[in-house]
């Protein structure tokens, strides 16, 4: 097996150009999937027999919660690659993930609160799932604060990468919190071993929304990655060419 593709992913000009080329594909497919899922979730899916029309909140709550975990995992992997192989592009990718992840974690917490009030009768509870998700939000903020506090980009990259990698232990804790402890929160209905517990007409809009949000994340990451690469490349000849074009 050749490793050229991996080495090319370490080359800033290659990644910069690849990111620019791929962005429209991810953006437009994300837009189409999210709009289709909105129609499916709000109009086509039948009301739930227990939660009535209120269950439609799942189509925004589950995707934002999924983003909060998936983006953090991506960030931690990129940070680990950056630490191990001293790859500048990997550090740039990790830095690009943080604001995206933080904002979607915020959305997951707010939509969860709006979901909790009518279904459980409370906006907030210091429950394992809710508390660990709140810690995830603070991890993102801590990561960004740490980066902001260190002026030298290389040092900021390495120091914040350690925090990102250590913080990843929180991801399985969040996912399994509903199985390990007594939680108000329901057990997973899609991300589980075996068949999903949701009926087809309710399930496809959810899966479509999850995929749409994932593609949206890739598109956002590609745009932010280019910004991070630009900030790390000084006086590189490819950059001069790029800017002149």
């Amino acid at each position: 097996m050749t490793w050229t593709w991996f080495h090319r992913l370490g080359s800033p000009p290659h990644v910069y150009r690849l990111a620019r080329r791929l962005t429209p594909w991810f953006s437009w497919s994300a837009a189409v999937l999210i709009l289709a899922a909105l129609y499916g979730g709000l109009v086509l899916a039948p009301p739930d027999y227990q939660q009535g029309e209120g269950f439609r909140m799942i189509y925004v709550h589950a995707p934002t919660a999924w983003m909060s975990l998936m983006v953090y995992t991506t960030m931690a992997c990129a940070a680990a690659v950056g630490l191990v192989w001293r790859m500048k592009v990997a550090h740039a990718a990790a830095a690009a993930c943080a604001p995206i992840g933080a904002s979607f974690t915020f959305a997951a917490l707010v939509t969860g609160s709006l979901y909790g009030e009518p279904m459980w009768g409370t906006w907030w509870e210091w429950d394992p799932r809710l508390t660990s998700e709140l810690i995830l939000f603070f991890l993102y903020l801590g990561y960004m604060g740490l980066r902001g506090a260190i002026e030298d980009t290389q040092r900021a990259d390495r120091t914040s990468a350690v925090l990102a990698v250590v913080g990843v232990v929180n991801v399985p804790i969040i996912h399994y919190s509903v199985t390990w402890w007594n939680s108000l929160h329901q057990a997973p209905s899609v991300m589980r071993l075996g068949k999903p517990t949701l009926a087809g007409a309710m399930l496809w809009p959810l899966l479509t929304m999850l995929l749409g949000f994932t593609l949206l994340f890739v598109a956002l990451l590609l745009v932010r990655l280019r910004a991070e690469i630009l900030a790390r490349e000084r006086n590189a000849s490819w950059l001069q060419e790029e800017l002149a074009a």
Binding site: E53, G54, M57, A107, V110, L114, A227, E233
Partner: protein
Amino acid sequence: MREFFDMGGYAAFVWPAYAVTFAVVILNVFWARRALAQALAAARRRAAGGGGAP
């Protein structure tokens, strides 16, 4: 239509949840594009300044 917006009595929860989520989506698109535009402008300024001081 009235029925749709009423969401079976859950309107006060469903619509704010969708509004917050899509506000975050739109802000993310805006923030990402602004970050790239600012980085490009900074890189151009550095290039115009003879590529000197960081």
